[in-house]
Every structure is written in structure tokens, then in C-alpha cells.
Symmetry: D2
Subunit: 396 residues, 4 copies
């Protein structure tokens, strides 16, 4: 719980900007120095998020070109704040005249007025999905740190649109290319085609649909997460529930796991080929007791259908008159394809922050074999995965 516009404790992102106005962006504080970072690292993720990338998304035409204002010199981070700015280009304030007085149902219009006593009407102001540009830009940096440090890979994809569910996806093996091979970002080709058709249909009727995005994080160091309030799954839940339109979250076995008995649900441990302690199943979703256990982190987030629709709806004006309103402006009939890079970004932000915190608290003092036999396998030197990585030369 904070002021609302910052995320993270050590690797800390602050986003700014409204849909209309000077631009949107982010300031990232606490970024490790000496990271190789180019505009392209950031732009490639922004391009996956940008509007107008396919017929499934809003037609608002924004190139979303990022300018790195500070913190990076000659392609290397300085350890100082990285400020990133994306200018707003294709602004159409006139589209929002009706919404100036009438609240869009299930949108943020009424609650912003209730909270602040004022709001930026054009484009939904701060509640616009444009705000997520800052998140995705920061997430691109987080991803690069995680990959550099531990080979961590984070991949999200569309699992379900309305009632069309992709059944043929293996989270342990799915690749970025497979995800990006369809404009709906579902790596199950047959399901993807049906999803695209559904969204095309719903778009033509001026309506909208939602669904479920699934995400997997692979090669996550064990030991991340801070019990008790800042459990890893708690922070991931918050991260994803802070995305626009999200209504639900689950990790590992999630809601369906509550249908099992404990003896069916528990993940038995065994010793893997590499000597590491592994689980045979992964109903825990990569997290036990709020701390990563080295298995793949797997979670899902539910996105409701877009609230702005081109259909007449009953609503109320700011001065308390009952009226009807037909949404204008340019909006996605289904937020899921563009939500995929946002989900990845948010998980990257959670993981990098917990990684830095783990290094801060738990690596400063030497390990002692006698007090800490190692859960990672009988032949391993004592300590955590972090320490092992360092010994292997993957870090330090």
C-alpha cells in the first residue's frame, strides 16, 4: 500500500502520465549499475504492448517510441535513476465530450471523481492503458537483469478468451516464438484461430470479451520471497491485480486445487539428476511458504471484458441525472493480447526486487555447513541457489 504510482522496494519503478498530455513514462530507481541496456531492449517490449499492432487492438495509432532521459551512458546503466519518456501523439480529446458529464459503467470515471474530486476526462486520464507503458519499459530492464543474473525467462500467453480455452500448452516448454506466432498471443494454434474469430465477431457488434492469461517463470532462483506479508505469491498477486481489468488471480493449483485432499495435493520431494531437491508435481506453482523453490512459477490472471463498449448503456451524470451513454474513443474489444507483455513485466518487477532483497539480507554473512545443510542436493556446497550460481561463475 503506497501512494499508488510506485512499485518495488529496491528496484523501484514510478510511472507517470495520462492518456492525453505531455506523455507517459517511468523513473526506475535502484537499477544495478553496469547493465548493458539499449533502447532496443525497451522498444521491443513496448512494441508488443502498443496499440494498433493488429486488428484485435484499439486503432489508436501510437508508435510509442521511448526516449531514455537519464541513468544510461553509452549503453550502460549508471546505478542512477533511469527516466523513460514516451510522448502522446494521436490524441483526440473531442471523443470524450459525452463522458465529461456521464460516467461509463464499470469504468474508473465515477470513482476518480469520488476520490480526487476532479479527473482528467480525455482518454480516461491516468486510468488509461497508456499508463502501462511505464510498467512495460521498466519490466524490460528487470527481465534483462534476471536473465543476466540467473538465466530467468518469463513468458505469458493467452490461455482462455471467454469460453475458448487453449488446452494444448506445456508451460515448461512453451516458447516466445510460439506465443508471438498469433496476433492473439495464444501458443495453441487451433485455439488461437478460434479466439481470433471470436474477437473479430465481438468487435463487429461493438461489444467486448475477457479471459485468462497464464504466465510461467523459468530458472527462478530458489529463496526469493519474504515471509510473512511479502510472500512471493502475495506480491505477484498484487502485481497482476494492479493491471487494468484484472478480477482474479491464482498460482499453481489455484481454485481447482481446493477440490483435492492434502494427500493428493502435496508435492513429494525427490533428488534430481543434478543433485538438487526437486518436486515431482508442481501444484505449489514454484512457491512454498511464500518462497520460491526453484521449480517453474506458474500463475493465471482473469481479465474482465473491456468496460468501454460501443453500445448504449444506462448511467448517471456527474450532477446526478440518469441518462444513456454509448462509449466512444478507441478501445480494445479484448485486452488480453496486449495484456501479455504487461503480465510478464509485472512478474519481472516482482522477481527482480525480491532477488535484490535476497542478496541484501541473506548473502552478507558467510554460510556455515554445520548450521545449514543444503536443500539443493547432497553433493552441493552448503547454501542457497544464489550462492551456487555465484560459485558457478554465473554471477560475480
Amino acid at each position: 500500500m503506497g501512494l499508488g504510482n510506485s512499485f518495488g522496494r529496491i528496484f523501484r519503478v514510478t510511472t507517470f502520465g495520462e492518456s492525453h498530455g505531455g506523455g507517459v513514462g517511468a523513473v526506475i530507481d535502484g537499477c544495478p549499475p553496469r547493465l548493458q541496456l539499449t533502447n532496443e531492449d525497451i522498444q521491443k517490449e513496448l512494441n508488443r504492448r502498443r496499440p494498433g499492432q493488429s486488428r484485435l487492438t484499439t486503432p489508436r495509432d501510437e508508435a510509442d517510441e521511448a526516449e531514455i532521459l537519464s541513468g544510461v551512458v553509452d549503453g550502460v546503466t549508471m546505478g542512477t535513476p533511469i527516466a523513460i519518456l514516451v510522448r502522446n501523439r494521436d490524441q483526440r480529446s473531442q471523443d470524450y465530450e459525452a463522458m465529461k458529464v456521464s460516467y461509463r459503467p464499470s469504468h474508473a470515471d465515477a470513482t476518480y471523481d469520488a476520490k480526487y474530486g476532479i479527473r482528467a476526462v480525455a482518454g480516461g486520464g491516468r486510468s488509461s492503458a497508456r499508463e502501462t507503458i511505464g510498467r512495460v519499459a521498466a519490466g524490460a530492464i528487470a527481465k534483462k537483469i534476471l536473465e543476466t543474473y540467473a538465466g530467468t525467462e518469463i513468458l505469458a500467453y493467452v490461455k482462455r478468451v471467454k469460453d475458448i480455452e487453449a488446452m494444448d500448452i506445456n508451460p515448461d516448454l512453451v516458447s516466445l516464438d510460439q506465443v508471438e506466432s498469433s496476433i492473439v498471443r495464444c501458443p495453441d494454434a487451433a485455439a488461437a484461430e478460434r479466439m481470433i474469430n471470436l474477437i473479430d465477431d465481438i468487435r463487429r457488434t461493438g461489444d467486448s470479451v475477457g479471459g485468462v492469461v497464464e504466465c510461467v517463470a523459468r530458472n527462478v532462483p530458489a529463496g526469493l520471497g519474504s515471509p510473512v506479508f511479502d510472500k512471493l505469491e502475495a506480491d505477484i498477486a498484487k502485481a497482476l491485480m494492479s493491471l487494468p481489468a484484472s478480477k482474479g488471480f491464482e498460482i499453481g493449483s489455484g481454485f481447482s486445487g481446493t477440490q483435492l485432499a492434502g494427500s493428493e495435493h502435496n508435492d513429494p520431494f525427490y533428488v534430481g539428476d543434478d543433485g538438487r531437491t526437486r518436486t515431482r508435481e508442481n501444484r505449489s506453482g514454484g512457491v512454498q511458504g511464500g518462497i520460491s523453490n526453484g521449480e517453474n512459477i506458474i500463475c493465471r490472471v482473469a481479465f474482465k471484458p473491456t468496460s468501454t463498449i460501443a453500445r448504449e448503456q444506462h448511467t448517471v451524470t456527474r450532477s446526478g441525472e440518469e441518462v444513456t451513454l454509448r462509449g466512444r474513443g478507441r478501445h480494445d474489444p479484448c485486452v488480453l493480447p496486449r495484456a501479455v507483455p504487461m503480465v510478464e513485466a509485472m512478474i519481472a518487477l516482482v522477481l527482480v526486487d525480491h532477488l535484490l532483497q535476497q542478496i541484501a539480507q541473506c548473502t552478507v554473512l558467510p554460510l556455515d555447513v554445520s548450521m545449514a545443510p543444503n536443500p539443493l542436493g547432497k553433493n552441493a556446497p552448503p547454501g542457497t541457489v544464489l550462492h551456487n550460481l555465484q560459485r558457478e561463475g554465473r554471477a560475480w
Copy 2:
């Protein structure tokens, strides 16, 4: 994301203590001064949480009597830190000999070792449910502030145990008496009886079950929640996903709402009898755009079956030997009845913190009719519910 043991920004709780040792408790900083507060306010909630309260819970026998060490003089809060201590009494370290070397599957044993390189074995140390004593004690104070300020009422109950779901509960009307009328804390009497039978059966087999707790918060002021990262539903999600054994969260329409089209899912606005702007449906679950809209907040959390069971399971020792382990110690066959007060406490902590933050940021400057016509109804003075409450003499 933080150090793990604190929650909240302005009303901030820090819990401490392991299952075995000197005791458990909490320090609450930022509590408003001049709140009438007695030991009984805290004890009545701790009694709902304590072990041994019914045959459905762990037989560990703890009275869990709270001592207020500081911050309260003559039954009134001073605005200084409130420290609360509950001593551990019924400790049985010898029960944990086997677990000293063998990791309980799906428990926090292995991950604590991976993170810290050391752990308190007896009773699960910090991963014990005893840690939630501090949360419940702090939640009791939060509840009292919310009730005093705005008449807010927070009520959780067991909605489902394994596959037995209570269908006959109206969140808008359910009462504390109804919840407390069964030892399983399900206000649907018929379902409650079946749940109790199921838990009795599962307990006798040494196995465990999980389920779903639902929670409603009524009379929540509109305007709470801080977009964009600290949306109200994001903070509630984190709060509940930080509870032991939670695997999923949803608010309002949740996962099932993703099956609807936008035109079916949106909540139309209308003008209520009292002139306030209301929604006809509450699929939003009381939150829109990350900010409370004055409707009831309704959410659900999934709890997995207890991981410690009295059955033989495959696992691995700290030194990397594959072994079998049968859990000992004293544990709940189903955590849900005792999770009910924990869920209420966590939601109270979220709401009180956002309330104080809303007062801090959004009430310092005067409202101006011309810039902020009021979403709460045409006859209302301009401003937020907070301001209205104040004008009505319910606050200040």
C-alpha cells in the same frame, strides 16, 4: 514488497515471533490517537482464531491471552506504537525431531533453508499459523477505527469446503451471529453440517482438506484505493494471498465473469433513493478502477488443503537423502474455520490504511463545486463520501 514482516503504510503492523520461543505479537505504528481500545476488543478476535476452539482445529492448547505492552493508557490509544504480546505456552519441540532433517512436502521447510540457510524447526518456526496472532490483533484495532469512522463492517465466512459449497448466503445481509453459529463458520446451516461431517471424516484418516472463504465489507467509504499500482483490489489480493495456504483470489465476478460479454458484465449506474450514485449489479465487487465505489466489497480466497498430514509421504532430507516422512505435531485438518478471522483482519488492515491515506492526500484542500460535481447524487454537497461523512457528524 518489503522485508516481509510489516504491512501497511500509515497504519503499519509489524508482526514477530515463532511457533516456539518467547511468544508472538505485533507492533502497530500510526494508529490514530484517542481511540477507545480495551483488551477485550483484541481478545474477542483472538478467541475466534485460537487453536483448540473446536474439534475441527488443532488440539494445541493455547489461551492466546494478549498483553498490550504500550501505546494505550487508561483504555485510550496515544498515537504511539501499540505493542501486543502473546506468550507461547503449549510447546512440544520433541514432536519435530524427524522434521529437523526431513522436509515436509508442500510446506515451508525446504524453502526457509534455501532462503536463510537456517531455520527454526520446532513448530515450523515463523511459518507457523501462530504468526497470524499479530495480524488478528492488529486487525481488531483496524476494525474498530473503521467502525467508528464510517460504520464499516467486515464479515468473512466459509463458502466452500472441498466440493461442498454453501449456496444459500446473501453477502449483503449475512450476520456475524449466523457465521458464528456453526463451528465451521459457514452461515448456511445445511451446508455447514455437511462441511463438518466431511472435516470429521478427513481428520480421522489423517488427511486434510481446503476450500474457499468469502468476505464482504459493508459501508466502505467511496474513494479508497490508490491507482495505479496500489489499487484497492491489488492490495486486498496481496493481503489475502499472504495468508498461509492461500492459492487464489478473486473479487466481484472474478474468474467466472470472464465468461460474459462486456454488455452483460458492466454494472449500470442509477440514482439511489438517497440521491447517491449506485450500481444495479455489483459484478465490480465494490471496486472500479482500483477505487472503492461505495458498494459492498465482495471477494473470495482459495485455501489449499493443509500440507502437514499424518500420512506417509516421499521426501528428501537436508543432506539430500530420499526418505519417507509421516507428519507429527498438531495441525488443523482444515484451516478454513480459523482462517475466517484472519481474512477479516487482513481486509481491515487494507481498508484502514487506504482510509488514512485518502484523508492525507485528498482532504487537505477544499473542494470546489465548479471543478468537481459530485458522483454521489444531485442533492449532495460537492465532494467525496469522506467529506459527506464529516458533514453528517459521523467523523470529526
Copy 3:
């Protein structure tokens, strides 16, 4: 203690930017909504800070024009993050060739390398005084809130340059016009002239001087400051000691007060004409027990002589060779005239944050005459200055 680039808890400023590069600026989160705010409010303070404003300052020529990127629509704050950007214009990277390898004595060059393992050489990078642009811009907003809410006025001025001390200044009465009437920002005209002559002399020799800035804050509400760690004087000390070149801080009687006995040093209370509890002396400097008492806050900060000088000095290169170095680049012979708006800004940031925090924690519950007779005078209604202000209609 934080990541370094943010300040404040509820009204929170994050600055970004290096001396050379895309620009410098700030993001302000937690700003109250509905504040009238124009570019001019910010620009007038930046103009007092900008280089090249007089012959006493660095000749680097920067207009320092601020662009408000977000958070303000039609001259009113939205409660969303206010991002402010000032582009760097007059950049001369070539001046810094020698410093790329040689560390300037008493400058941040060597320590940035020690900390980050890398640094932005041109212009001192992040250690440049250009970073304070973001502080001054944010401070301008803080000042406006304080003035709107409570009529608070913050005024700093040069009290001493090297050994020339201004004796003829009354902190209770000094005005902004008096301060701004000389280019050295000393309101004692005779002393100002001598200071200017001294700086002119020292500038011609390529050397530098330091001195003391004094600051007074008038009409500060009583009750601000959070014991025990976040005492008001502690936060002011930190704020001012975070300014470049500061080496000392004192409040009220400061170091010289330690020469008195307690009976000489204590500030006796009396009842003022307006019924408020006042102190006859103000050796406390407006703060007692870490909390403002309604008297003027008076403090002083020592600034060392500018470390970059145009004289040959002994130093060491990055690769460990002993060399001599003559500073280049453009620098102030005396930082004090430009430090004046920085000091005011930092104190404004401290006061506004404590004001919002006080409102959050201590105004949510009603006052009760029986428990809290009022220190502000026998005829006053019970409560704090904050409450009184509200009753007088100066707030709410």
C-alpha cells in the same frame, strides 16, 4: 534511508537526470488534487536557482524552462503524479576529458566509482547541482500547498560567507524582497556588499568560498513531526544535509546553546494575546520533542567551499597514478546564493509531508475535550492547530 532519489512519504518526490543527457526533472506522487498550479509557480523558483543569473554564479547558460508532463490539467492538479522535465541545453562534455581519468579532490568522482563501479563523467553526472532542479520544482508545489492550507511562509537567506557574517537580520520579520534585493541573497545590505566583494575576489583567483544559510519557516501549524525517529528537526537535518556541499546543521540555539545551563536555555511558556500557548524565547527553534510548537522554525546549514576550483591540485587517477589536476568546467565560486532556494525547497518538502501525515493519523477520530485540554489557549476549542484552522475555515 532509501534508494537515494526519492524524498517524502506521502508527498513524495523522485528526481532524475544527470548534468549531461536528456534532461533533469522530478516526479511528484501524492500531491493533493485540486491545487491551482501554473508553470509560473514552478518557473519563478527555478529562476532563483538557475545558473548564469548573476556574476556570482557559474556561467553555464541554462534557461531551465520546466515542462509539466502530467498530473495537471487546465492549471489544476489531478492527484496523479506530476512529472516535470527540464532539458539540458548548454552541454560541454569536452571540458571533462581530464576528469575522466583523474579524481577531483573532495568531489564525488572517486566515491561514485567506488560505489557503482562506473560513473557519468561529463558535468559530474548525477552529482551535479543540476539535480537540484527537481527538488526546487517540487518544493515550489509544496510551498503552494503550505501557503494555501496554513499561510506558511518559508524564507532562506545567506547568513555568512566565509568570515563575513550578517548580524542585522530579524528572522521573524525578514521579507523575500529583502532577500532578493542583493545578488548574494543576504538581506543585510551592508553585509551583502562585503560578501559580494569577497566572492568577486575569490572568483578572480580561481578559488572558492563557503558559508552559512539561515532559514525561517513562519506560520507552521503546531503538531508536525513524528517522534521518535522522524522528529521534525531530524527530517529537516536530513533534508538540508542532502544538499550538495553541506557539512553542518543546527536548529534553534544549536551548537552555541550547549554553552548555557538548562535554567538559561529553557523557553518559558506564557499565554499569548490570542489565547495560544507561546514561548517567550525560541531557543527551541520552533520544535520541541520533535514536534512543531507553532513558533517560527529557525535553522542554519553550513556549506563548504565549492570543491571544483581552477587551481592545480594533487590527486590520483582511476588507475592509481598520482597526478596534478586543474579543474575545468563551469562552477560557482560560492554555492550559497543559489543554495537559498534549494534550502527553502527542502524545508517545504519536509513540512508538507509531515502536514499530510499529521492529517492522516491525527484527524480521523474526533477530539474529546475531557481527554485533551488544549495547549493552544484557554478559550480555544479543544484540539490542535490543525483542527482550529479547519474550524476557522482556513481549510476544509
Copy 4:
């Protein structure tokens, strides 16, 4: 700026407790696991702080025995919160009857009422020096980490009492034994004797005196401190200005350094015998640009004379009557001897937090010789002192 009762970001202390009531103490979150820690480590520092240790201190008789409630098992830290409790024993509430209605001049009585609308009268409640027990206990742990990690040693001593200044102290060489050899904690024996006589005299008259404590931290790793707002000297300033009765702070050359020209004040660099980059003088006080440079950190803090004196003073009652008041209760005629361990504790808390933060942000990525030639000397491997320490086997 925070809620007031916590300090530190990664190694975070929260203190609780009033002068009278259940007790005082602290919860430390973020402590590294696997630190050897005994009660004696904490008790030896508390004994230096406790009242009644000599005739120079308050006669309140408290053994101040600390109980470690959590976070430590078998003499080793678990990485979980360490809660420490010290019971209040020698309470005399009746001494405070007069102060219930009359405000002690220059004390926190009036401002607590102004802030909170209520206060704990007995013993000054939270404004009592008993609160510092929690700081000193936490500081003892911080000291042990610093010593274990880097051999850091922190030593404070009384430099001046009223107008008696100790001139014969070398901060680079002074030892704990020398400090503890006199009850006034001044290592200059001749000055110590005169200070003791002065305090004896002033105590007999019911009056009080203040003075200056100086502190040195040796073997501080270079690279600690986070520009720009969280400069090391800024955080030390805040830490020390948060101690009761402090009115001023300076580091290195401090206020007197402002009398020098830049060419006189700058610290020339040279290459030391060990190949490290050193400064010939230490006017910087061990910190440049907000970051430690590896030289000794030297600073001073001014403590005013104790405000509670046994002499009649003019004051005002809570209900606004002018009266006279003679202080009762038991108080120190001079706070400095007992302030010494408090100063050390606060500096330890600052250093350990910045150490952990430095490890978090700046050691996660590998160093690269080409981008970061090393300021520590031509023969050293590239990187910071932190990295060197690790290579030398002093850490990891």
C-alpha cells in the same frame, strides 16, 4: 519521513514503549540470518545506557535486562524478526501529578498534546529517554554485523560539556577502554575530571548542562551512501538529530570548515602504501558526494542542557493558566555520558542499512575492468572495497 517509530530500510528497527507501562523494546526486521548473537551482545550496550550507572545519571534504578522474544534460536539469528523486550520496573507515576496539567518548558509535553490531543503523562511517556533502549539494543546487532563483515568499529565519546572541551583526543586512535575509563565517557582524562566536577556542581543546584559528543567510525567500506537524498551524511544527521535533546550536527570540517577557501579545504588524494586511493586530510569526514570514501567517518552532535530541572519555571497549564512549575521525577543533570552508546547505535544502524543496500544494488552484476578502473589503487582488482573484502575472504 515516516510514521516515526521505525528506522532503516533493509535492516529496519521499530521501537515501542513508554516510560511507564508494560515495557520498552524493539523489533528488528531484515537482520541477516546466521549471525552469532547472544543476550550478552545486547546487554553490554544496554548497560552503558542504563540509568543509575553512576552518580552523573538519573537515580531511576533499572537493570534493563533484555529478553530476546524471537528471531534467534540457539544463539544464531534466523533472518526473521528479532523482538527484544525490557520491562519497566522502577515506576513512580505519582511524581508526575503536577506535570499532568502543567507543561514543562522546552520539553515534549505541550507538543505531544498539540499533535495527538492526548499524552501519556507519567515519565514523559514516549518522549522518555527509555525509548532509546530499543535503539541501543538494535544498534548492538548492527555493530556485530558491521564488525563481522568488515571489521568496522564505531566509537563515540564526550568531546565537550558546557564550556569544557577535551582537546587531547585523536579520533583515529582512541579506544573503547579510554572512553569507558571515566564515568563521563571522555577519553581525555584531564578534561574528564573537570567535566565530572562541573556536572556534580550543576546537579547540586538542580540545574543541567549540555555539550558535544564526537563519534568516529573506522574501517567503513567505501561505497556506502545513496545519492542524492539519502547521502550518508544526511542519514547520519537524521539519525543523530532524532536523539532526545540534540540541536546540531556536523561532519568532518563542519561549521568551522566554512571559514576556509576551497584550495585550503579540499582533501588531496594520494596512493597509500596498500595501493588504495587515500586522502591526505580528512576534512570530508569520510564522506564525499554522499558516499563513504574509506577514510574514518568523523562527526559531532550538540546536545542541549536537559530540559527537566529542579528549579521553578514559568509555564502554562493544559487549560491555559499561567503558573510556575518545579520539575520532579528523576532526570540526568547531563545527558551526554548516556548519549554516547546511543550515538554509536544510531550510526551503526545507518551504516548497516547502507551496507545491505549497497550489496543489493551494486554487487548483483559482475564488475568489468574496462568500464570501471578501480579507485582503490593500481594493483587492486577492479571494483569496490566490498568486492575486495569478499575476495580476501573477509566476507562470503
